[in-house]
């Protein structure tokens, strides 16, 4: 089985080909756009081919490329991987089509294409990875190649955003690597298949779970950062805003899913049935979806709103992942306790299935919706040149295609019945609600779980509230684009006169993504359920789920009520926050003040926490500590030289005189200077003692030379010799 590997390798080969062509040929941008579309189409065909092979019963094993990177790369194919492989290739294809128009005037488009293909290959590598090492290998690659997306425009802001992106990506990557080290050390394997068994064995021995939690925590930093989870989401808004529209669509639709995929595998394979981890993820998920939603509502820019919407939706997905973990714990506890009836177990399995399917479907839905929304935002940006809500206001009027796709996507993600988001959100909501009910019964029997019923009720309330936030910010965007009119009448007329605002490939690209949105929603049992069943993540407990999936009654009153509560909450939030607060009606009598950014600028964790700590404080502290360590021995050597081994100053030629005259002269000069400075307190004119002494000494030595060489001196010395001899003789005798 080498198929999955080809799907990974092909984009790399294509990017090399594009690079060679770009070097050898004239820069024919149209040609390169066609090559991109072709490459992505082939990639989609390969991914679809893999899925078809799998459906027709071909067994895929693990294919390995030995020794690459030390441990070798391993690929495998499962339903989940297959679906996301197809989604990835599809997303690349539609954005490539979209780029034909959007990037046609970009001077750096070939560089963008090359890195785009590299990122595609790396992303496929992540989804088809069979072990954590391969996942990490491609994850790091993807972080680095997608860096060029964010930095693409090369403006100051883009480079700033890209700096944050790269910083978080590298830190996250190192953090994942630390987790990998620990997992490899504790479990002895990195294969997803084998890890579950090893982890369960470790759990039964009851030893070293702390290490696994530490590893999972480390890896969460890296994967969560890519997904956009709450404390490590800080790179997200700026990067999404600065990247070109097709790249943003991919970042949001696919790259965030790689992070979720990592967390999902972590939850299911490294920490199976650990409720504590599930509760952690649940809290992170809830905070992420609420925080993202609130920022989305308060934002005054089209793309930033969509960026925070992404974060919020990832929060929903993480909540689902957390629910899976909590339900797995609950399931194991009930099965082990024995006192529980098989009915209860069956019920838990059903709820478990809802959480699993809900998570999967919401990932899928979010990918589709965000592709549509970001590409639509790109279309708008191409004409308006800004994402400011006041600038884009009224752009969508008299543009039926834009209206149709935007409404489908916005309502889809908002969870409006008959569209796709409703299905996944209902599944997630039901799993939370039913779990809360089950937990209450279990708590009455004295069972202790990681989550308490009160907490679950709070989570449910926040879930519905966040759904309301989604509705609110999507309504805001809808009203801005399609209902409101631009404050400048001429601009509004120009907007309305634009009929050919999008080329045919662009329309095809956006339409292709919008098409499945109602399909999933209207026919959940025909489309969503088989998809979810096929896309089941293979892990230890998945055997159980295969049997217990009944059709959900999506449009029963009970299930509709959740959506209705969300919509009602959304309407209230929209009216209160957007209409009254943002548009300033609370504070002024003017009819229309436009939209403004409500979120205070000083509450910027990226600037005031992450950059301040990571780029300034930590290097500062480390730098001081390192300086001290660095100079320890040097200082010791200097002190020794000053005290024990007093080395002389470097000898240098004196211009005149000798050492004696120089030092005596200088000392005299200093004494005199001191005398003037202390006693007389008046200006001091140097007396040049050193010079005078030098002249004196030259005189004296010249005289000596004359004397030395004279015959008289010789005779004198002879005399002295004779005298000494005589004295000696006298003393001896």
């Amino acid at each position: 089985m080498i198929g999955a590997f080809w799907a990974v390798l092909f984009p790399f080969v294509m990017s090399a080909a594009v690079w060679i062509m770009a070097r050898s040929r004239a820069k024919d941008r149209k040609g390169f756009a066609a090559i991109m579309v072709f490459a992505c189409a082939v990639e989609l065909a390969v991914a679809l081919g893999l899925t078809l092979c799998d459906l027709s019963g071909v067994q895929f094993g693990i294919s390995s490329i030995p020794c690459v990177g030390g441990l070798g790369l391993h690929f495998m194919y499962t339903g989940f991987r297959g679906v996301f492989g197809v989604v990835t290739a599809f997303a690349w294809l539609v954005t490539a089509l979209f780029s034909c128009g959007y990037m046609k005037n970009d001077t750096n488009v070939i560089r963008y294409d090359i890195f785009n293909l590299l990122t595609l290959g790396a992303t496929m590598g992540i989804f088809y990875a069979a072990d954590l090492f391969t996942l990490f290998f491609f994850f790091e690659m993807m972080s680095f190649t997608s860096f060029l997306w964010v930095a693409h425009r090369q403006t100051r802001e883009a480079l700033h955003a890209a700096g944050t992106y790269l910083g978080i990506a590298v830190a996250g990557g190192m953090s994942i690597l630390m987790g990998l080290f620990i997992v490899y050390d504790r479990l002895g394997t990195l294969y997803f298949d084998a890890m579950y068994g090893q982890a369960v064995a470790l759990m039964e021995r009851g030893a070293g779970m702390g290490w696994l939690f530490a590893a999972a925590g480390c890896m969460f930093v890296g994967f969560g950062a890519k997904a956009g989870a709450f404390p490590v989401h800080v790179w997200l808004p700026d990067s999404y805003t600065e990247a070109p529209a097709p790249a943003t669509a991919l970042l949001s639709a696919v790259l965030s899913k790689t992070g979720v995929f990592g967390i999902l595998l972590l939850t299911l394979d490294v920490l199976p049935t650990q409720g504590g981890w599930g509760a952690f993820l649940l809290i992170v998920g809830v905070v992420t979806m609420a925080a993202g939603g609130i920022r989305g509502v308060l934002s005054g820019s089209l793309k930033t709103t969509l960026a925070y919407s992404s974060m919020s939706q990832i929060g929903f997905v993480l909540t689902g992942v957390g629910m899976q973990s909590l339900l797995a714990e609950f399931l194991m506890a009930s099965a082990n306790a024995g006192h529980a009836q098989s009915e209860q177990v069956a019920e838990i399995v059903t709820v478990f299935g809802m959480a699993v399917n809900g998570t999967f479907l919401h990932m899928l839905n979010h990918a589709l919706v965000k592709l549509v929304l970001f590409m639509a935002a790109g279309v708008i940006f191409a004409h308006v040149g800004s994402y400011d809500l006041n600038q884009v206001r009224g752009f969508g009027r008299r543009k039926p295609f834009l209206l149709a796709v935007f409404v489908l996507a916005a309502a889809g993600v908002g969870g409006i019945p008959l569209l796709n988001g409703y299905v996944s959100k209902t599944l997630l909501h039901e799993s939370i609600a039913e779990y809360a009910g089950l937990l209450e019964t279990a708590a009455a029997h004295g069972a202790v779980m990681a989550a308490t019923p009160v907490m679950m009720r709070a989570v449910e309330a926040l879930f519905l509230f966040s759904g309301g936030l989604t509705v609110a910010y999507m309504t805001k965007l809808f009203v801005v684009l399609f209902v409101g009119k631009n404050s400048d009448k001429k601009v509004q007329e120009a907007y309305e006169a634009k009929h050919s605002y999008a080329s045919l490939p662009t329309k095809i690209a956006i339409g292709a993504c919008a098409l499945p949105i109602p399909l999933i929603g209207v026919l959940p049992d025909l489309v969503a359920k088989p998809l979810a069943e096929y896309g089941l993540v293979q892990f230890g407990l998945s055997e159980l789920l295969a049997h217990h999936q009944d059709n959900m009654h999506y449009y029963s009153l009970k299930n509709l009520s959740g959506a209705l509560i969300s919509i009602a909450a959304g309407a209230v939030i929209y009216l209160l926050v957007v209409r009254f607060w943002m548009q300033g009606r609370l504070f002024s009598n003017r009819h229309d003040k436009g939209y403004r950014e409500l979120f205070p600028a000083w509450l910027n964790p990226e600037k005031y926490v992450y950059r301040a700590v990571l780029y300034t404080a930590v290097p500062f502290v480390l730098g001081i500590a390192a300086r001290i360590l660095d100079s320890m021995v040097d200082t010791a050597v200097v002190i020794l030289r000053r005290t024990i081994y007093r080395d002389r100053a470097l000898p240098y030629e004196l211009p005149e005189g000798n050492w004696a005259t120089h030092s005596i002269g200088c000392s005299m000069e200093r004494v005199r200077l001191l005398y003037y400075a202390v006693m007389r307190k008046e200006g001091y004119a140097p007396k040049n003692y050193a010079h005078k002494l030098a002249l004196k000494s030259t005189d004296i030595f010249e005289n000596f030379h004359i004397i030395e060489r004279s015959l008289s001196f010789g005779l004198f010395m002879f005399c002295v010799g004779l005298g000494l001899t005589m004295i000696y003789l006298l003393v001896v005798n």
Partner: protein, 504 residues
């Protein structure tokens, strides 16, 4: 064929001495000098390559120093690996310097000492006992000193003096250790003569005999002094301060050779002393191992932090060498096969990466005269191949797949965790990763500035171009090696596993 070892050592030294003593006018113009030097480079590398590839080798006793101590050479896989990287980097940096040195004075002297240093390093790699190794270790310091002092500026002279001071202090510490261990060294009989202080894989120091003689403490202290003493050359805290002073003042190809290769001489000496004389078992679990590991962790964090703060590119790279050499020492201090493999892999990878970085830095400085890291705005667009090579080797040093740094780091961290030392087993990997993060922080901004930022006025005005092929090709080869070794390290890992199997 055993005499091939001797030829590999003597030939470059002789060539270097002849070059030094030739009168200045004897070779005529610069072209003649370069062709003669080029020929002697290749001629010197050939016998060395012969020995490295295993076509020649074995053991060779030259003469006897005192009773049982001969000057003795023996070729083994470890020596071959070290000699292999020496030959590669020697040739690449040597040919690079043909262009680079056109800006400097006294070229002939530089090439002469460069050749002598190469010969001495061959001697160090193929030394068969502790005393021979010590001999060549001291010679290495002396022969490489003129490379540091080359420019003759006051700064260079002071740096060279510092280099000598630290190196000799370290060597004397190691010598003390050798004296102490001499008492416990077993005596072999070989072909009628008695020899001692051989290199035996796994070591010969008998823990029981030492314990019975009651001088365990002394012995451990002696071993510790040997590690710290030889570690001076490898830039280990606390005696690392010479390295960031001495390496940057040398001409760039010499910096590459010093930072990529000469420092590995210290690593080789530590390996020979610890794994081939003392033995890993003797040290396992003692205070020596713990202190050694702690020193290594401190050094690697310190080096990266200082590199992060440093503004002068070559100095930044020198601090990075301090940090990376301590990755290697940390791995060696863990005393297990996995960590040893990681260390040896990092020896090879770091030799290529660091010489690549220094050569790239040299090429940029040669072309533009800019030495500070923030001055390279927009240069990447003028010199794309050079900056791409720089980026690839940088990624290698950080350890981003698919470059080689990840492989060595993986083995090092796995070895640390395997060692089971309390605390250090996870502090080690964590320190490695923090250091890698800092590495990204001090290497990548250059690429980002070079490629993505708008060129400043100076870059706009001067028409900077890609350097000459003789400069560019070595950098590209080293970058290629970083990639290839990352994607397919299997033969190297296999070879090192073979060595490690003999040691543990």
């Amino acid at each position: 064929m055993n005499y091939m070892i001797l030829i590999a050592i003597i030939l470059p030294i002789a060539a270097g001495i002849i070059l030094l003593f030739l009168p200045d006018g004897a070779l005529g113009d610069r072209k003649r000098l370069l062709s003669v030097t080029g020929v002697s480079f290749v001629a010197s590398a050939l016998p060395a390559a012969c020995v490295v590839s295993g076509r020649a080798g074995g053991a060779l006793e030259l003469f006897v120093l005192v009773d049982e101590l001969p000057v003795f050479f023996a070729v083994d896989s470890l020596g071959r690996i070290f000699a292999g990287i020496v030959v590669v980097v020697f040739l690449l940096a040597g040919f690079f310097s043909f262009v680079y040195m056109s800006h400097e004075q006294n070229e002939k002297r530089y090439y002469g000492f460069y050749l002598i240093t190469f010969g001495v390093l061959m001697g160090l790699c193929f030394a068969g006992n502790l005393v021979t190794m010590y001999l060549f270790y001291e010679l290495m310091t002396l022969a490489s000193m003129p490379l540091v002092i080359h420019s003759g500026s006051r700064e260079a002279v002071m740096a060279a003096l510092k280099y000598l001071f630290y190196s000799f202090c370290g060597a004397y510490m190691a010598l003390f250790g050798i004296y102490v261990l001499y008492r416990y060294a077993p005596v072999y009989e070989m072909s009628g003569a008695v020899h001692t202080m051989y290199f035996v894989p796994g070591g010969w120091l008998d823990a029981e005999a030492v314990a019975q003689s009651g001088s365990m403490g002394l012995c451990l202290a002696a071993v510790f002094l040997m590690i710290v003493g030889f570690g001076v050359k490898a830039g280990c805290f606390p005696f690392h301060a010479w390295l960031p002073t001495a390496h940057p003042v040398a001409p760039a190809p010499a910096s590459a050779f010093l930072s990529g290769i000469i420092v590995k001489g210290g690593v080789l000496a530590v390996i020979r002393a610890v794994y081939y004389c003392v033995g890993a078992d003797f040290l396992r679990g003692t205070w020596v191992q713990t202190t050694w590991a702690v020193l290594a962790v401190l050094t690697l964090l310190m080096g990266s932090s200082l590199a992060f703060k440093e503004k002068v590119l070559k100095k930044r790279l020198a601090y990075s060498t301090v940090s990376n050499l301590s990755y290697i020492l940390l791995g060696l201090s863990m005393l297990n096969a996995t960590a040893f493999t990681g260390s040896m892999l990092h020896v090879v990878f770091h030799a290529f990466i660091k010489s690549g970085l220094f050569l790239a830095a040299g090429a940029v400085i040669f072309a533009t005269g800019k030495t500070k890291v923030h001055e390279y705005m927009g240069l990447g667009r003028r010199m794309p191949i050079l900056f791409w090579s720089y980026t690839v080797v940088s990624l290698g040093l950080i350890g981003i797949p698919p470059t080689s740094g990840l492989v060595s780091k993986w083995y090092l961290a796995a070895g640390c965790l395997e060692s089971g030392l309390a605390g250090l087993s996870w502090v080690g990997p964590a320190a490695l990763l923090i250091s890698a993060l800092l590495t990204a922080g001090y290497l990548l901004p250059l690429s980002v500035r070079g490629f993505l930022m708008a060129p400043d006025y100076d870059v706009m005005r001067n028409d900077y171009r890609e350097p000459k092929p003789l400069m560019l090709v070595p950098v590209v080869i080293l970058a290629g090696a970083t990639l290839v070794l990352g994607v397919y390290p299997a033969p190297l890992i296999h070879l090192i596993d073979g060595i490690a199997a003999g040691l543990f």
